[in-house]
């Protein structure tokens, strides 16, 4: 039967195709892939642009597109026929615009942080919380909210309203450094130990936050709870100005890691054989991810799901190659967060919904749909 099958199959199936044909096919495939990448990234960019425009135009305070244009044109020295009040101008330029832009920065930062860590850990469930950034930041925020008035008086005077953000940023980074140090022995970092150390340090931070909650009064407790739900409501030009260079430098630096992270996907030993300095990659990856996520968390509180889901959404459509994944995740995370914030601001206006609820509400079903569609039978 085997012989018969062999005999009946066409000869071309047995003889390898000429080298030229194979190369041509490979090139065609690569071109198709490039086109898909350009298409998806372009699509995401367009979606982000549209989302930002919608977010700037829509809000609790009613502004017509004409009025929005007039306010922006006025800044450029052009006067348009629509009449706007000083209050409308203040709402658009001092409240809505920094908020939308901060959403872009935070969303991109969380998503790229997640993408880098998922690559490094070769684990699709990795999210920035894994290396302690989020729990450390939460501890920093809790310390500043609960003890701020008594212990850190000088710091409070120095930083004013930015104390919580500063403390969250420092503790977020510090916790990650601690986890990294624990997992590093004689110049080598074990990714597995880092994961386990992260779990232990997260538990410790949780315990510390818990004990602070015990001492917190009603107002502090509420502030802390709202902080852990995340919000872009505190966005100002100054918080945007602080977050942009921190997250921006990560966005610029991350693509240099793309090749190395691709190699790491094969396994650490394999990556080493391919000539990758794996220790350096680990160091830089963890550092970049922690920087982006700590900065994003410091200005917006804990916003879950974006760092986990945005890289996945891109990976499911573009594959695991980091050269497309990293910018894709940044665009996707920014879009997701801007849209979630738009919904947070408008659905219950004049009240607001905590954004963490909405990122999960929007991201969750979409993610499930992609999973079901792509599941391997």
């Amino acid at each position: 039967m085997t012989e018969a099958a062999l005999a009946s199959s066409p000869p071309s199936a047995l003889t390898p195709p000429p080298v030229e044909t194979a190369r041509a096919e490979l090139e065609a495939a690569a071109q198709r892939r490039r086109r898909a990448v350009v298409l998806v990234l372009g699509g995401l960019g367009a979606a982000l642009g549209a989302g930002m425009l919608a977010s700037v135009a829509v809000g609790a305070v009613a502004l017509s597109p004409g009025e929005v244009l007039t306010i922006f044109a006025d800044r450029l020295g052009i006067s348009l026929p629509w009449a706007v009040t000083a209050q409308q101008e203040a709402v658009l330029l001092n409240i809505r615009l920094p908020r939308v832009l901060l959403g872009v920065v935070v969303g991109a930062g969380l998503a790229v942080g997640g993408a880098v860590l998922q690559g490094l850990f070769r684990n699709p469930l990795a999210d920035p919380g894994l290396v302690g950034v989020s729990s450390g930041a939460a501890l920093g925020a809790a310390i500043s909210i609960v003890l701020g008035a008594s212990v850190a008086v000088s710091a409070t005077e120095l930083l004013g309203p930015a104390t919580v953000a500063g403390s969250a940023f420092v503790f977020g980074l510090g916790t990650t450094v601690l986890v990294y140090r624990i997992a590093t022995r004689m110049g080598r970092t074990s990714v597995t130990t880092m994961l386990l150390a992260g779990i232990a340090v997260n538990a410790l931070c949780g315990a510390a936050v818990g004990s602070l909650i015990l001492f917190a009064d009603d107002g502090q407790l509420r502030n802390l709870t709202f902080w852990t739900l995340g919000s872009l409501g505190g966005a100002t030009w100054s918080s945007f100005a602080v977050a942009v260079p921190l997250v921006g430098s990560v966005l610029v630096a991350a693509p240099w890691l793309a090749r190395a992270l691709d190699a790491m996907l094969l396994g650490e030993a394999e990556a080493r054989h391919l000539g990758v300095n794996t220790q350096r990659v680990k160091q830089i990856s963890v550092g970049l991810a922690a920087l982006a996520v700590a900065a994003a968390t410091a200005v917006s509180g804990l916003i879950g799901f974006v760092g986990l889901v945005a890289p996945h959404l891109v990976r499911l459509t573009l594959g695991p190659g980091h050269r497309a994944l990293l910018p894709g995740a940044a665009l996707c995370g920014a879009t997701l967060l801007v849209l979630a914030d738009l919904a947070a601001r408008t659905l219950l206006a004049p009240a607001e919904i905590p954004i963490g609820i909405l990122t999960a509400l929007i991201g969750g079903p979409f993610f499930l749909w992609l999973l079901v569609r792509n599941r391997v039978m």
Binding site: G59, A60, A90, D217, F226, R345, A349, P350, A351, E352
Partner: protein, 304 residues
């Protein structure tokens, strides 16, 4: 007309300093003295430029504006503003500690009256930057500071005359409460509950303790400050004669029977005699204009 009386300012400062012993002692020794002195309380506050459309952030602030007869000017209030019923019909803003600047501005207020705890940081400045007048009032935990706050709000919205009657009514009900006090002070435990998992008791220096003293009870807890989680042993050690609990908290536990099921409660004198007084915490703990009513109801409950 608007004399600057330093005692008034000092009282505000004292209330802000949150010295644990302070509100309690003030509350229990001063209730009658304050009643005499109150009409003289004057505050150095300039009236707001335009009170046509007011947004209030914080339950007691909202109640005070309504009590002063300016409820029809309120165009929106935060989630903690539950009284009077009319305010529930107005646009509801976020809880005052999580205010959204644009949400407030969308109501086109001419004046935002906020409690000191309003936030998050920077939001009130954003509202000011949009050209809307923002005034803050202190969070208070004593009768005298509460009176100062009524005066302050009245001065801002130009209702000084109405403040006299609000304060007079408050003092009248406080005096009635004083008359309704139990002869011997029972040891009372103030329990704050939001479901069985979250049961806290009021320690020293809390507004709840100040209220208990006003109503003629003694706080059964003297070992710790602030609100602490309830433990069975601490409860039995405190041995309260009566348990005071906000109505909504009692509901969340499933009534008196549910409260008695909490570990240790049934072993206390209060539990054995089923002496539980349910109070409206919105009436009491915010130290708003209805404080007197709340204290009177509590005093009657303690006596009955």
């Amino acid at each position: 007309m608007r004399r600057v009386l330093f005692p008034a300012l000092l009282l505000v400062l004292a209330a802000c300093a949150s010295d644990p012993a302070d509100p309690a002692t003030e509350a229990d020794t001063d209730s009658t003295a304050a009643a005499v002195a109150a009409p003289d309380v004057e505050v150095d506050v300039q009236p707001a430029a335009d009170t046509e459309r007011i947004v209030t952030l914080g339950g007691p602030v909202t109640e005070t504006v309504y009590a002063l007869g300016m409820g029809d000017r309120v165009v929106g209030a935060d989630q903690s503003s539950l009284f009077p019923a009319d305010v529930m019909e107005k646009p509801r803003l976020n809880y005052f500690r999580q205010t959204s600047a644009e949400g407030v501005l969308s109501l086109e207020p001419t004046l935002v009256l906020a409690s000191d705890g309003a936030g998050p940081p920077g939001v009130l400045d954003q509202i000011r930057a949009a050209g809307v007048e923002v005034r803050t009032t202190p969070e208070v935990e004593s009768v005298s500071a509460a009176e100062v706050r009524v005066r302050m709000i009245a001065a801002v919205i130009g209702r000084d005359v109405q403040a006299d009657s609000v304060l007079a009514a408050m003092q009248a009900s406080l005096a009635e409460a004083d008359a309704a006090k139990p002869e011997t002070s029972p040891r009372a435990l103030f329990v704050y509950a939001r479901g069985a998992g979250t049961v806290m008791v009021a320690g020293t220096g809390t507004s709840a303790e100040a209220v208990l003293k006003l109503a003629g009870a003694e706080n059964a807890v003297s070992e710790f400050e602030d609100f602490q989680p309830l433990t069975a042993e601490a409860l039995i050690t405190a041995a309260p004669d009566v348990i005071v609990i906000p109505e909504r908290g009692l509901e969340s536990l499933g009534g008196v029977d549910g409260l008695l099921l909490q570990p240790g409660v049934a072993e206390t004198p209060a539990g054995q005699n089923r002496r539980v007084v349910a109070v409206d915490d919105a009436l009491l703990l915010g130290f708003g204009p209805r404080l007197g009513e709340g204290v009177r109801a509590l005093a009657e409950g303690l006596n009955g």
